[in-house]
Amino acid sequence: MKDIWFKVLVPFFAVAILVGFSTGWAATITVGALNDMTGATSDVGKDYALGIAEAIHYVNDMGGINGKKIKLYQFDYGYRIPEALTKYNLFKRLKCVAILGWGTGDTEALAPTVARDKIPYVSASYSGHLCNPEKTPYNLFFSSDYSSQARGLITAWFDKKWPNHKDYGNRKPRIACCYMFASPFSSSAIKAAKDQANMLGFEIGPDQDVSLFAIDTKSQVLGLKEFKPDVLLHTNTVMSVAATLRDAYSLGLGADHIIVNWGYDENLPRLAGKAAEGAMGSAPWAFFGEDVPLMDKVVEYAKRYNPGIPMEKRTIHTVQAWASVLGLAEAMKRADKAGNLTGPGILKQGFESMKDLEIGLGLAPVSFTATDHRCQTVINVYEYRNGKFNALEKVDLKSRWPDKWANEWIGW
């Protein structure tokens, strides 16, 4: 009997207990997400945060990181920088291998720290100066940077719209920039924009200081009347861009509009109405629901995990979040496969091994190198017309100006 007890029953119970607990023993990888769902950028930050969580569910359902599930720690920091720093320390205690960050404030405040700690930080701040690995080696994003977007938009307008203008061939095209001077986010692309405009032979008008909080921009629009711009570049967020479009329309300014990504989403036509007709903008990812690879999953997971939010309220920022998550997941898979799922491993064997990677979601092919973190060379330009965002042009800056792209334009 003793033999039976030890040879049969003990192993039986041992196996039963092991099977019972096995689901709790599955390996997990912890990732932090810092989002703004209450603060100054919560109008777009909430949709981005929802997209982050939904995309992590998708990655886990698809097998996680080579069989390891991702455990997401997602926190709202209300765009308060001291709280971002506090949450970062929490992420370290939770042993997060990477962080999905948010805006210019947290990204710039944490850039030296993540470099020191060697923790990859995938942000939704696309400032050009985060693209130089010599200065910010652990900052990455899955988008074209603001400076490249501005260059692409100006080029697309110059190629597509200017030749149809009645004054084409008789004078230089005229451009002016509308942005909040005091905002590092709004002003980050202006130097590159003016460089591009000069290179293409534009006449550049007086900059207009448009607050991110503005809902009345008549004085700025009137300030441009004398210059008579053919096109205005906007680098603010949606509400103040919509206000400027409305005032330019009602005051008969007659200029076209080109808009960098944060001012160009599904809410622009809702706020600007008829004034949004013909507005061109940069959208590095497809708009929510557009017919591109993986959009079916984006919509499916939005419906599954946030069924209380009407689909018409979901925006391009969900798609944008998916790009960040899928890009990070791919980097982690590569590092894990190489047996080096650490910060440096995710950077070197992960991100910096990506060459012309097709993620889907309408995102142009992604490449990172050890000397260049501008992952996109192609700028997707859309035009809002007849109630829809329509793909208008893809401007490949690297192919068109290879020397300038390689030697002059990185990091600003």
């Binding site: 009997m1 003793k2 007890w5 029953l9 769902m37 209450t38 603060g39 100054a40 950028t41 919560s42 109008d43 909430k46 945060a49 720690y73 997602q74 709202d76 209300g78 765009y79 308060r80 991110l212 909080f213 503005a214 809902i215 009345d216 967020t237 509400m239 206000a243 706020l271 599954r304 995990y305 946030n306 069924p307 209380g308 939010i309």
Partner: protein, 204 residues
Amino acid sequence: MRKRSIIPTGFVVIVLGAFLFACATVPTPTEQNFKTPVVTLNSVELAHYWGWWYFSKKVQPTKGKAGDYGAPLDFAFIFDIENPNPYPVMMEHLKFTVAFEEFDLNTVSSMETQWVPAGKTNQVRVHAMFDGRQSLLSLLVTGGFKLKEKGMGVGAGGAFKQLEAWWVGAPEFSFPIYVKEGSAVFKADGLTSVVTFSGTFPQE
């Protein structure tokens, strides 16, 4: 020798029998029998209150660093989590947006997992902090047009007027607080169910 072996053998048989009985009587969650749990807003409390004030960074504080600071409001939202199933379910995540009148001001999450026993109702308390400064920026960047339509005025003046009305009226719940776009993720033995919920306090 034989007599001595009867005791352990009997013990094993009883344990095995109990184990198998338990397995047979507790229903296993299936797609067919997994009933959707119910999440209901039970009440809202003003958990901590500091009144209404706002200091800009131009004001030198008695101690510490100057900055743009607004009074916080700490509301607690209490939900009933009802499990209609004959087996326990795990609530993995709960999330909802809070609106003061027609202005969405906060989206709150509870990431702590909790098990709800079969046929029972748990309660969960979720705190939502409203910071006067962040709420001001949120109103200015996203709510400018709405504030103007509401007749509160434009720019910072209109936003401050609205914030003061909310902060001063909060102890009496003088305006409706909406819980909207709520979702909670429940799991049972590999099955997942996502529940939607909403609510208003005070009830209209």
